[in-house]
């Protein structure tokens, strides 16, 4: 279940969008015990100036992203677009499931939930 995709309008700055991963929808619900799903989120939005320069609450802007956005504003070409809107901070989840030998397994996975997005 995702937020509707946004276009390149003024309201479409790079930020975290909601994405709920349902294990039932991907067909894993028979062997995944818990959780049934999780809020994984995703990043979407434009990274042109000034959107590429996030406020003090956001992730630190890479110098490369600023100059990339500046270069793109000065000379927009198809080959070198604006910086990419990508995950800047992620967090882990744990998954409880049955393996093929019917053992109960608890596995810890890093980088499963997007907490913060940034222009990179």
């Amino acid at each position: 279940h995702t937020e509707p995709r946004v276009g390149g309008g003024p309201g479409g700055a790079c930020r975290t969008r909601r994405l709920h991963v349902s294990f039932r929808e991907v067909g894993w619900h028979r062997w995944v015990i818990a959780p049934r799903g999780f809020l994984a989120n995703f990043c979407q939005g434009v990274c042109t100036l000034p959107e590429a320069l996030q406020g003090p609450g956001g992730p630190p802007v890479l110098n490369h992203a600023v100059l990339h956005a500046l270069m793109h504003a000065a000379s927009p070409t198809q080959g070198a677009g604006p910086p990419c809107c990508v995950p800047a901070r992620l967090s882990p989840i744990s998954v409880l499931f049955f393996d093929n030998s019917d053992n109960v397994v608890l596995r810890h996975y890093e980088d499963m939930v997007v907490d913060e997005c940034g222009c990179r």
Partner: protein, 215 residues
């Protein structure tokens, strides 16, 4: 229209990326989830972690060891045993327990291997027994005794096998077979092995976050 979930080589690559070396067959035999596994799962939930005590990555707090994969492996030979405590010439019965370790990946290193047993006796007023554990090789003869420990009636039995039956720095065997024997001592009654399982914690360093480098 919804596209079907990836299958075949695409699914295998996807599961390999998630650190699983085989595609789940999808329809497990239903069995209750052991309480210890629920407890460990809830303990890892960031919403239930206590404020000010952040979860350490690649560490199983409740068991006090490094690790990112915990398995509860039931004894696969449980139903081949006689239901009651059979005695042979005055001795308590001996049992063979078998644990299927095929799901353990080659990159996983064990950090805890705990044998858990539940013994049931007809009379709880015994003085307890002594349990001995030996590794059972391909031939049916048990190897040298790995450990011997006192066992109290009515209490769960927990024996640490790491370093004894499970090597710390070697790859895991595909199957672990153990010979268990109960020694009566001064007690006159024997017990029945009602349940046997292995709680295995492993660490796959590839799934741990890399240390942050200073620029």
């Amino acid at each position: 229209t919804r596209a079907p979930a990836p299958s075949g080589p695409a699914a295998a690559a996807l599961f390999q990326a998630l650190g699983m070396h085989e595609v789940p067959r999808g329809v497990p035999t239903p069995r209750p989830v052991p309480p210890v596994m629920w407890r460990l799962f809830r303990r890892r939930d960031p919403r239930e972690a206590r404020a000010g005590y952040p979860l350490r990555p690649c560490h199983v707090e409740e068991l006090g060891v490094a690790g990112n994969i915990v398995r509860h492996i039931p004894d696969s030979g449980l139903f081949s045993r006689p239901p009651g405590p059979t005695r042979t010439s005055g001795l308590c019965p001996k049992w063979t327990v078998t644990f299927d370790l095929k799901g353990v990946g080659p990159a996983e290193h064990p950090t805890r291997a705990r044998l858990e047993l539940r013994l049931e006796a007809e009379h709880e007023d015994t003085h307890g027994w002594e349990l001995s554990v030996a590794l059972l090789a391909e031939v049916e003869h048990p190897g040298p005794e790995l450990l011997r420990m006192p066992v109290a009636p009515g209490l769960p039995v927990r024996a640490d096998l790491l370093g004894a039956a499970v090597a710390t720095n070697a790859s895991m065997p595909r199957t672990l077979r153990l010979a268990l024997a109960l020694h009566r001592g001064a007690t006159t009654v024997c017990a029945r092995l009602a349940e046997a399982s292995l709680l295995l914690v492993t660490l796959d360093a590839r799934l741990c976050p890399p240390p942050r480098l200073r620029r």
